[in-house]
C-alpha cells in the first residue's frame, strides 16, 4: 500500500496523543502494579486470616508453620499448644476454600459477562448459583451417592449448567443481551429454582433442611481438606480454560458477526465458556452455597482499573475475588463474637447497593453498554 500523500495530510500532531490518559506503557504498568499488589495483599491477608479467631496465632507463626510443613526451617512455630492443630485442621482449609471459591466466582462472573456481552451478568443474579444449589440439595434430600464424594459437585454442575443454558437461550435476541432481559430472566430462573429449593426443604428431614438453608445463605463454615481436594481441581481446570480462551473473548466484544470474521468459532467459544462457568459455579456452590455478587463486583472494579482486555482482567479478577472472599470470610467469623455469620449475606449486603449503582449508571447511559 502506498499512501504517502494521504499520510502526511492526515497525520495529526503527536503532541495531542501524548496527553492521552492511558497510553500503552502506562496501562501496562498499571496492570503489573494491580496484579502484584493483589497477590501481595492476598498472601498477607491469608496469613492474618488464618491466625485470627478465638485462638490467636501471629502472622509470623502462621508463616513459620507453613514453612515447617513444607520442610523449610523458617520462622517461629505457633506458641500455643493447640495452635498447630487449629491452623491445620480448621483455619487453613477454610482459608484455602475461601481463596479458591472467591477466585472461581470472580472468574465465572467474568466469563458470563463476556458471553452475554453485558457487564451485569453474575452467576448469583441470573440464577446459576441457585440452579447449582438445587442440584446439590437434591443429592442430600434423596441421599444420592452415584459418584461417591463427588456426587454433590456433579449434581450441582448438571443443574447449574441447565440453568445457564436456560438463561442463555431465553435472554439473547439478535446476538446481544439487553440488561432488562437478562435481569428479568434471572428473576424467572431464581423463582423457579427457589421453588425447587422450597420443595427440597419440605421433603427433607431435619439435617437436610439445615444443609439447604446453609446453601441458601452461603457459608464457608466447616470447610475441610477433603472438600478442598474436590473443589481445587475443578476450579484450576476452569480458570486455565478461561485463560486459554481469553483472547477470543476480547473479539466477542465486537459482536458475534465481527468476531466470526476475525476467525472465531463463536458458537463453540460460547459453549465452552458456558460449560466452564457452570463448572466454576458448581465447584463454588457445592460446599459453600450461594455467594452472590463476587462475580459482579470484582470484574467490574478490575475493569475500571486496567480496562476490559480479558487476559489480564482474568488474572486480576481471580486474585481480587480470592482476596474479597478471604476478607469477607474473616469478617463473617469475627464480626460477632462466638457467631459465624453467613458469608453470602455479607457479600449481598455489599453487592446489592453496588448492583443498584450499576443499574442506575446503565440507565443513565441509555444502552451505553454497546
Amino acid at each position: 500500500m502506498t499512501a504517502v500523500d494521504d499520510a502526511t495530510r492526515t497525520n495529526q500532531p503527536s503532541r495531542e496523543s501524548s496527553a492521552d490518559p492511558l497510553p500503552r506503557t502506562v496501562s501496562a504498568r498499571r496492570r503489573v502494579l494491580l496484579i502484584t499488589g493483589l497477590a501481595i495483599a492476598l498472601a498477607i491477608m491469608a496469613l492474618v486470616s488464618a491466625g485470627t479467631g478465638q485462638l490467636y496465632v501471629s502472622p509470623a507463626e502462621v508463616f513459620g508453620s507453613i514453612m515447617h510443613a513444607i520442610g523449610l526451617d523458617l520462622g517461629p512455630l505457633p506458641a500455643h499448644p493447640n495452635g498447630e492443630s487449629a491452623l491445620w485442621t480448621i483455619r487453613f482449609p477454610r482459608v484455602a476454600m475461601s481463596i479458591v471459591i472467591g477466585a472461581a466466582l470472580a472468574a465465572a462472573g467474568l466469563l458470563m459477562q463476556a458471553v452475554f456481552g453485558n457487564p451485569l451478568a453474575d452467576p448469583g443474579v441470573i440464577g446459576v448459583s441457585s440452579g447449582a444449589a438445587l442440584g446439590a440439595s437434591a443429592t442430600i434430600v434423596f441421599g444420592w451417592a452415584f459418584f461417591g464424594e463427588w456426587t454433590t459437585a456433579v449434581a450441582a454442575f448438571i443443574t447449574g449448567l441447565a440453568a445457564t443454558f436456560v438463561v442463555y437461550f431465553m435472554s439473547r435476541s439478535g446476538g446481544k443481551t439487553e440488561v432488562v432481559t437478562l435481569v428479568l430472566t434471572g428473576i424467572a430462573v431464581n423463582a423457579f429454582t427457589g421453588a425447587g429449593l422450597a420443595l427440597m426443604t419440605f421433603l427433607g428431614d431435619q439435617a437436610a433442611r439445615e444443609q439447604i438453608v446453609f446453601w441458601q445463605l452461603g457459608s464457608l463454615n466447616g470447610s475441610r481438606w477433603q472438600q478442598f481436594s474436590i473443589v481445587l481441581p475443578l476450579i484450576v481446570v476452569g480458570v486455565v480454560v478461561a485463560f486459554v480462551i481469553s483472547h477470543r473473548l476480547d473479539l466477542l466484544s465486537l459482536g458475534e458477526r465481527s468476531a466470526r470474521h476475525l476467525g472465531v468459532n463463536v458458537e463453540g467459544l460460547r459453549i465452552v465458556a458456558i460449560v466452564v462457568t457452570a463448572l466454576l459455579v458448581a465447584a463454588a456452590v457445592s460446599f459453600a452455597g450461594i455467594i452472590a455478587f463476587v462475580g459482579l463486583v470484582i470484574p467490574h472494579l478490575m475493569r475500571m482499573i486496567i480496562g476490559p482486555a480479558h487476559r489480564p482482567l482474568l488474572v486480576a479478577s481471580v486474585l481480587g475475588g480470592a482476596l474479597l472472599l478471604l476478607t469477607a470470610d474473616l469478617v463473617a467469623r469475627t464480626a460477632v463474637p462466638m457467631a459465624d455469620l453467613p458469608i453470602g449475606m455479607l457479600t449481598s449486603l455489599v453487592g446489592g447497593p453496588f448492583f443498584f449503582w450499576l443499574l442506575r449508571r446503565a440507565r443513565r447511559s441509555a444502552g451505553g453498554w454497546g
Partner: protein, 289 residues
C-alpha cells in the same frame, strides 16, 4: 496491479427470510484490483447480498467462492486471513480503547509468521484512518463517525486481499467519506478486491470500477458507472427523477435529484434579505401542496 484473478464469485444466490424472497438469483464476480459498489434503494437487498457473501446470511440457493474455493469449505481462521468484513454496526460491548480494537484486526495472524507485522499494521491503519487523536480513548465514548473510522481501521489492519464493506461512509462527514473510499481505492490499486455497499451514488460513480444496482432483491444492472448510472434507470429504480451530469472539468459523473421548485425560487436569493428569501421559498411550496 497483480494479474486479475477472481477474488469472489457468487452465482445465483437467493435468500429467503420467513418465506419472503429478499434476494433472488444474484450473481456477481469480483476480481482482485477492483472496487465493486453495491447500490440501490432502501430494502433493495444490498446488505443482504453482502451478508450472504460474507456467510453471515444463510442462502437458500446459489454458490459462493472465495479465491476459487467454496465459502463453506474455508476454515474460519483461514478465511479471516483472506477477507475482512466491515459491518454497519460497530459497537463494542466493553470499554476497549480504539487501539485495542484495531489490534483485534490482527487476530487472524496470531501465531503466523506475519504476526511480526502487528504493530506496524496497527499503526499504519490508525494513521491512514486519521484516528491517532483518539487512539487511547474508549470506543463507547466516541461519536458514531469516530467509531466507524475505528472499525474501518480494524478492517484495514487485518491486511486481507478481499474487503467487504457495508456502508462504510454512512456515519462520516464529507472529508472522511472521501478518505475511506480513497483508502479503498489504494487497496484496489495494490491488488485487493473491494466490495462496498454505498448509498451515495456520486461516491459510487467516482470510486467504483464497477457498480451493481439492486432493486427489489435483484441485480438489475451491472457494469461501469457510466453504463449503470443512466437517467432512466436511476429515476426508475429510486422512483425519483434524477439528472446525470458530467463534470465540466474532470468529466466525473454526477447524479442530482431533480428539484424543480427549489431551483426556480432560489434564483435571486443572494440579493435578498434573509427573511424575504425564506418567504419566497415557502410560498411556492404551499401553493403546490
Amino acid at each position: 496491479m497483480r494479474g486479475a484473478s477472481v477474488a469472489l464469485d457468487a452465482r445465483g444466490v437467493s435468500v429467503e427470510i420467513d418465506g419472503r424472497q429478499i434476494l433472488a438469483d444474484a450473481s456477481i464476480r469480483v476480481f482482485s484490483g477492483e472496487i465493486v459498489a453495491l447500490i440501490g434503494p432502501n430494502g433493495a437487498g444490498k446488505s443482504t447480498l453482502l451478508a450472504a457473501l460474507t456467510g453471515d446470511q444463510p442462502r437458500t440457493s446459489g454458490t459462493i467462492e472465495i479465491a476459487a474455493r467454496p465459502l463453506d469449505d474455508w476454515k474460519l481462521k483461514e478465511l479471516a486471513q483472506q477477507r475482512a468484513v466491515l459491518l454497519q454496526e460497530n459497537g463494542v460491548f466493553f470499554p476497549f480503547t480504539v487501539e485495542q480494537v484495531v489490534e483485534m484486526g490482527r487476530a487472524p495472524w496470531q501465531r503466523t509468521p506475519l504476526d511480526h507485522d502487528d504493530e506496524e499494521a496497527v499503526d499504519e491503519a490508525i494513521r491512514l484512518t486519521d484516528i491517532e487523536r483518539f487512539r487511547h480513548r474508549q470506543v463507547p465514548s466516541l461519536s458514531g463517525g469516530e467509531r466507524a473510522r475505528s472499525a474501518f481501521a480494524r478492517v484495514l489492519a487485518q491486511r486481507t486481499g478481499i474487503l467487504l464493506l457495508d456502508e462504510p461512509t454512512a456515519a462520516l462527514d464529507l472529508r472522511h467519506q472521501e478518505d475511506v473510499l480513497r483508502l479503498a481505492r489504494q487497496r484496489a490499486h495494490a491488488g485487493d478486491a473491494v466490495i462496498v455497499v454505498l448509498h451515495d451514488l456520486n461516491l459510487a460513480a467516482a470510486y467504483a470500477d464497477r457498480i451493481a444496482l439492486l432493486s427489489s432483491g435483484r441485480i438489475v444492472a451491472q457494469g461501469s458507472p457510466r453504463e449503470v448510472l443512466t437517467v432512466e434507470r436511476i429515476s426508475d429504480v429510486y422512483a425519483q427523477p434524477v439528472e446525470v451530469i458530467t463534470h465540466p472539468q474532470t468529466g466525473a459523473t454526477i447524479i442530482l435529484p431533480v428539484r424543480e421548485e427549489l431551483s426556480v425560487s432560489r434564483t435571486n436569493d443572494h440579493s435578498l434579505p434573509r427573511t424575504t428569501a425564506r418567504s419566497r421559498i415557502a410560498l411556492p411550496r404551499k401553493a403546490s401542496s
